[in-house]
């Protein structure tokens, strides 16, 4: 085999392995990420329509009812693209279709607004799982007085933020001073959400 064939071949094999590892890691972290997002969304719904004791999905939106079953409002989602990000909102809408509140579900590329630097300890992370695969979880838990911690984290505890910095956003920035998301994007997202409820309700109101 000539070098011209050999090098691309080696590179190709390495790429395939890397892709497989990434796909696997995505697979094991995805359920955790989804679970967190669900919890966050449930919280946003509770805040968007505080009077609602129960909600019922009605296609594009949800109906919220109080303990007596009286309609207290609607919940609808909307999304729009801003200057460099996508914003997703949850709008609480009163029965008379006035807006009760606007909660932001997510905004991409935005350290600060809607950033998920979740600092709650997670029972099982993919590092734990990896450790488990290598049969070292029990050992790791014994070795550390804090069983929530992953295997490698302890080694990095002593480093300052400067040692581990993302080039663009400074690693662990908690908010940005001077930044604003475009209110146009917010408005578009909210209009979309309200329109979804209006459209769904209009035939019933007309009859």
């Amino acid at each position: 085999m000539s070098d011209a064939v050999r090098f691309p071949l080696v590179l190709g094999i390495v790429s395939v392995i890397a892709a497989a590892v990434l796909a696997y890691l995505y697979g094991v972290t995805k359920p955790e990420i989804d679970k967190r997002q669900k919890e966050k969304d449930a919280l946003a719904e509770k805040i968007a329509l505080p009077d609602a004791v129960s909600t019922e999905a009605k296609g594009a939106y949800k109906e919220g009812r109080d303990a007596e079953g009286k309609l207290v409002g609607y919940l609808a989602r909307g999304a729009a693209y801003g200057y460099s990000s996508e914003i997703a909102v949850l709008v609480g809408i009163r029965p008379d279709l006035r807006i009760a509140s606007i909660q932001v579900l997510s905004e991409k590329e935005t350290p600060g607004l809607g950033t998920r630097i979740e600092e709650a300890p997670v029972r099982e992370t993919w590092t734990d799982r990896l450790a488990g695969i290598f049969g070292r979880r029990a050992q790791a838990a014994q070795a550390s007085s804090e069983p929530d911690r992953a295997l490698f984290q302890v080694q990095f505890d002593g480093l300052s933020k400067d040692d581990l910095r993302l080039a663009r956003d400074g690693g662990k920035i908690q908010a940005i001073s001077g930044a604003t998301i475009t209110s146009k994007a917010v408005l578009a997202a909210v209009q979309q959400a309200v329109a979804a409820v209006e459209e769904a309700l209009s035939p019933r109101q007309g009859s």
Partner: protein, 349 residues
């Protein structure tokens, strides 16, 4: 070169080592966030499109939901008092009132007007919460405002037209068309008030960001706040500053100009002259209170680096001014206590 050789070459080992280190760094970043108290955050929209993010550490889900609900209720109440879009707000009532009429005001408007007046006086009028008409005049003008037009508007502007009577809890103005516009102080004030109620509810560590006006308490370890790159996109950060307590606000041009007939006349109106001024690229203020940081950021932006830094120091605040430097570069001017740290990468030119 044969494959066997490739396998043994030190370069391959170096690459492997580099990959290993990169993996470790990735894992460390993944887990880094778990060192502090558990944090929860929630963003909602108020005031017709302004995002408010409340971050609270060390609260359970139920407590957090109640904290956020209290914050939303407070912001709604403050908006109903302070917004000049709401006809029944205290601010709208003041703006509609005749000269000499006594208008009753509550605690919040009293506090905010006192703070506004303090920053107005400390900055020689570079911050003026009663100069909205000047801004609108220039913003809407089809030709450059001059002579009587400008003079008439200028005469109605100025916080000095308002007199607060704290005992009677009233405000009186001496010109009917004098009007308040709290855009340069209300967001910072709201952040202060949200923190107040969170503290009263037993929260030990919290950060509130109302658009780019940020305030926090329980900053041990300090919060890391990014400063927006004044020439970048909204989320580009040019550097960071630690915030242990108090507030930070940034006022910037962000490519906005007052433009009349295709000619650019600067970024911001100087309330002292009634005319647009170029200003630096941005001004950031660290202050004990959000309202002060918010108002001072506007003032320092109007004043520019030299006068601005002096004014900030005199007001007991720390400031960072980012201005255009030679050859398209940037100049960073800061007071001693502003521990700005430049980010590497494209944002940190």
């Amino acid at each position: 070169m044969r494959l066997e050789v490739l396998r043994r070459t030190p370069r391959r080992r170096r690459i492997l080592a580099a990959l290993f280190v990169l993996t470790l760094i990735a894992i460390a970043m993944w887990r880094r966030g778990c060192r502090d108290l558990p944090r929860r955050d929630h963003t909602f929209i108020a005031m017709g499109g302004i995002p408010i993010t409340v971050s609270i550490w060390g609260r359970g889900e139920e407590e957090f939901a109640a904290d956020v609900a209290a914050a939303i209720a407070l912001v709604e109440r403050l908006e109903s008092l302070l917004s000049d879009y709401r006809p029944e707000s205290e601010i709208s009532r003041i703006n509609r009132a005749a000269a000499g009429e006594e208008i009753p005001i509550g605690d919040d408007v009293t506090r905010i007007l006192k703070l506004a007046r303090r920053i107005h006086d400390e900055t020689g009028g570079a911050f003026d919460a009663a100069s909205g008409a000047l801004f609108r005049l220039w913003k809407r003008a089809e030709r450059v405002p001059e002579g009587p037009d400008l003079a008439r508007i200028r005469a109605a502007c100025g916080l000095t037209h308002f007199r607060i009577d704290e005992d009677r809890r009233t405000v009186v103005k001496d010109a009917a068309d004098a009007a308040l516009d709290l855009g340069g102080i209300a967001k910072g004030y709201m952040a202060d008030r949200v923190l107040e109620i969170l503290r009263a509810r037993g929260v030990r560590r919290a950060l509130v960001a109302i658009a780019g006006d940020i305030a926090g308490f329980g900053g041990d370890p300090p919060f890391t706040i990014g400063i927006r790159d004044p020439r970048g996109r909204p989320r580009d950060v040019i550097g960071t500053v630690p915030l242990a307590a108090g507030a930070i606000s940034t006022s910037g041009a962000y490519e906005r100009f007052i433009e009349i007939g295709g000619v650019r006349y600067g970024h911001i109106i100087d309330p002292r002259s009634g005319r647009p001024t170029a200003g630096p690229l941005s001004a950031s203020i660290l202050a004990p209170e959000g309202a002060i940081a918010d108002a001072l950021a506007t003032a320092v932006f109007v004043l520019g680096p030299d006068e601005g830094l002096r004014a900030a120091r005199a007001a007991g605040a720390e400031a960072l001014v980012i201005a255009e430097g030679p050859e398209g570069g940037l100049r960073f001017l800061a007071t001693e206590g502003f521990r700005f740290e430049r980010s590497p990468g494209p944002g940190g030119r």
